[in-house]
Symmetry: C2
Subunit: 484 residues, 2 copies
């Protein structure tokens, strides 16, 4: 696309049409593009750089908690998927099948992995013999295919990228502890790195992973008032170890089935970054995961190449040395004005401008993307100031998102109130649920809201009460929302 | 597998049966395992850790040369593969096809990518409009599927992992320069990081990539005398830009087709590490890519937990601080003897032993995996000595491999000589080739040797001469070998 074209195209305002805004931002900031296959996207360099940062920061945490990476095959024989009854039922409607290999019809068709419990379970049965082999703490970074009917870039695509952890333990307690450890790791990761506050808790049985004993999840509130599931951690119990015969000799020489967990986070987190932090002008990226943290734009006036450019290069060098991901954009075929709006749209946290007058004054102009606050900073203290500002932006984005979630989390004590909130304001509703699937179904059907999580820590007595739907006493508190 | 089982199993000697040795090493050192699908392997954590190091070190070079990463879809519509005539002919026999998605028969079947020129070409046509958009320098890390008839872990598998670079340029010269830049990058990477010397040059037309104008490659000699292609860099010319209509407005406002390159390195490099450096006892990993560079084994005697272990922990901390990838193995359910042989087989470059007597003497025993040389080192100078030894091992492995290649590169001036060398000694043969495909075919049929590379720099006059096969004068020097 030539620069002239880009300049004139405005982005639809977020407040006006959220869905159009989202699709435009994804395309115009070059995070992703549509491919010729329905529902499959191309992750462009700008989007992939975000994914690389997410990968690196999450992978560090995965390894720090004792896990190692491995790689399992892309294809899974049909008979493997069928071994766990709930699993096949849950996934078979969305599988892409390979039926021909090297010009020959295959005897057994192969699923392109919709998740890897089945193939990994088969291998674990070969590898695990004794308690000495436990725990097995393996993670995989991979591509996943699910034949989705309605798709949206990053949020729901036929192919996506993720990490999937698959662990085996000696006891039920260790399995549960692992499941919860990962849940906290995911929460901390989202809040620290993505600046996205999340609610964590368990899912209702209706919403759990097909084949799990219990699913835990973290959920974030998008700025249109809908929730997005950011990650899940499943306690698989012995469901798959029984289906795949994964047994070990325990410390008292008895054969036992292992206790398993699985957990994943995907490229949909990039969609969350857009929907939580974006504004009418485009992206606002949290500095910790922004591919470029500060863009340096020399103002091309007069003898700028001999006066401004050397100063800009020195600033670039200093900031790089400080560990700031800085980009000096000295291209002549684009005007400073075009660059300002381009990087604003792309969400670069800080813009640094240096022109001939700044050079004379020994200063630079620094502009925050989040608040648009502008200040003049002495070159000598620029690197310290940039570091401080990046920290402030990271915190500021988190606090803004947290405030938004708090402002949009409402209590509903009866069904009338519940329906009214869901219709007018959306957001999270905190309400008591009797635990009955009939109420859960009714609420979903009539309001489109589902139970996002059941909080782990029991709430204080005052919030307990009667079921928001049927009015029966003795339920548990739950967070409801419409969800992506 | 329980430790007792492992201990008693010996590895087949490499000199005795290279092929069995290779398969055993891969399995016993837990680099990879067979999956239930023929030809698809599981890369186990030990093998994947090698791949992660390869990825990191190669990715750094890819980025340092100005490239960025992206991700394109796994599936490619059949009609796309057919757009470049040679390309479809080359790849269609080995494609796995998805024909069913979400329970429905697809209207057009989808290839699981055997390489991504076609899908990337389609996207480039959408993205590139002007010379300002060039060069496009994109790389992708991805999984690839090729339905192979004869497979071998890492060397030839139905699914493998790789990186594939796909670039677009304004001129033919820039395309050629990029192709050669990547070729040198690959060579430098293999020699510096993998300690594997490679020959580089162009391929004959018979051996080039299906759809390329010219293929360049690097080739290494395995210790059984067969060559392995370690990486390829293709100058695609305008073959794909014409097939996919990738045009740009040049600096004089004329529409032109872009000039393209593509290039890749794969998980087969792990097979090369095994075959170049391995010995009868197992792997010998070059320190720069070894997941564990030094293993620290406390000798469990007497009050070792209070006397030896704290010293070992301190050594571990110091070496970690120095940037050494150190692993302290203080497991009590395994004996030191078992650990020695286990890490020797796994190819850990250095073993450090600390026992009660060492603690008293203020020393540690350090054993090199490559030469098995053993020395006692004062604890105070241990970290310096370890750094030096790791460097020496890296160099030593490279030099040993280079000497082996030099000893196994022979000149053949006539066909009798050629056949005799290929039958008795293998290795590389340097000989003159007339450039005629008939000779190339005859040599392949009668000796199984193929042209691995045609060197880029013209050799000195003395090596030029008559074709080793037909005896006609006026050929080019070529390196021949049997190849994996």
């Amino acid at each position: 696309m030539s620069p002239q074209e880009r300049l004139v195209k405005q982005v639809t305002a977020k407040s006006e049409d959220f869905s159009t805004w989202y699709n435009e931002i994804i395309r115009k900031t070059e995070l992703a593009d549509y491919s010729p296959m329905k529902g499959m996207m191309v992750i462009r360099p700008h989007g992939y750089a975000l994914w690389e940062n997410i990968q690196r920061l999450l992978d560090d945490r995965i390894k720090a908690t004792g896990h190692v990476n491995a790689y399992f095959p892309l294809f899974i024989p049909e008979s493997f998927l069928q071994k766990e009854a709930e699993h096949v039922q849950g996934f078979s409607p969305e599988v892409a099948w390979v039926t021909i290999g090297g010009k020959e019809e295959l005897e057994e068709k192969l699923a392109v992995r919709p998740t890897s419990e089945a193939i990994i379970g088969y291998m674990y049965a070969k590898w695990i013999k004794s308690w000495r082999d436990l725990p097995v703490l393996i993670n995989q970074w991979a591509n996943i295919v699910r034949w989705e009917k309605v798709t949206r870039p990053f949020l729901r695509t036929t192919e996506f990228l993720w990490q999937e952890g698959h662990t085996c333990h000696e006891t039920a307690e260790e399995g549960e502890a692992e499941t919860l450890k990962i849940l906290s790791m995911y929460k901390e990761f989202c809040e620290t790195e993505l600046a996205i506050p999340v609610l964590s808790g368990r899912k209702s049985l209706r919403e759990k992973f097909a084949g799990a004993q219990m699913t835990y999840a973290i959920e974030a509130l998008m700025s249109d008032g809908k929730a997005l599931q950011m990650g899940t951690s499943h306690n698989l119990g012995q469901h798959f170890s029984k289906a795949f015969d994964i047994k070990f000799e325990d410390r008292s020489q008895t054969l036992q089935y292992v206790w398993q967990t699985s957990w994943g986070m995907t490229t949909r987190t990039i969609g969350a970054l857009v929907m939580v932090h974006g504004d009418d002008s485009g992206l606002r990226l949290p500095p910790r995961i922004a591919p470029v943290q500060a863009v340096l734009i020399p103002i091309a006036l007069g003898d700028w190449k001999t006066s401004v450019l050397p100063v800009a290069r020195e600033v670039e060098r200093e900031l790089k040395e400080r560990g700031v991901r800085i980009k000096l954009d000295d291209r002549e075929e684009y005007t400073p004005g075009w660059k300002f709006s381009e990087y604003e749209m792309r969400g670069v946290p800080l813009r640094i401008e240096i022109g001939p007058r700044d050079v004379k004054a020994g200063t630079a102009v620094v502009v925050r993307r989040d608040t648009r606050a502008k200040e003049s900073v002495a070159l000598a203290s620029l690197k310290d100031r940039v570091t401080v500002l990046l920290d402030e932006i990271q915190k500021g984005l988190f606090e803004q998102a947290l405030r938004f979630r708090e402002d949009n989390t409402r209590d509903a004590s009866n069904y009338q109130e519940f329906k009214s909130i869901m219709e007018n304001e959306r957001g999270f509703i905190r309400a008591v649920w009797c635990g009955n699937e009939a109420c859960e179904d009714k609420i979903k059907e009539e309001t489109q809201a589902t139970i996002r999580v059941l909080p782990l820590e029991p709430e204080s007595a005052e919030t307990a009460g009667v079921c928001v739907c049927c009015g029966e006493p003795g339920g548990t508190p739950a967070f409801f929302a419409k969800a992506y």
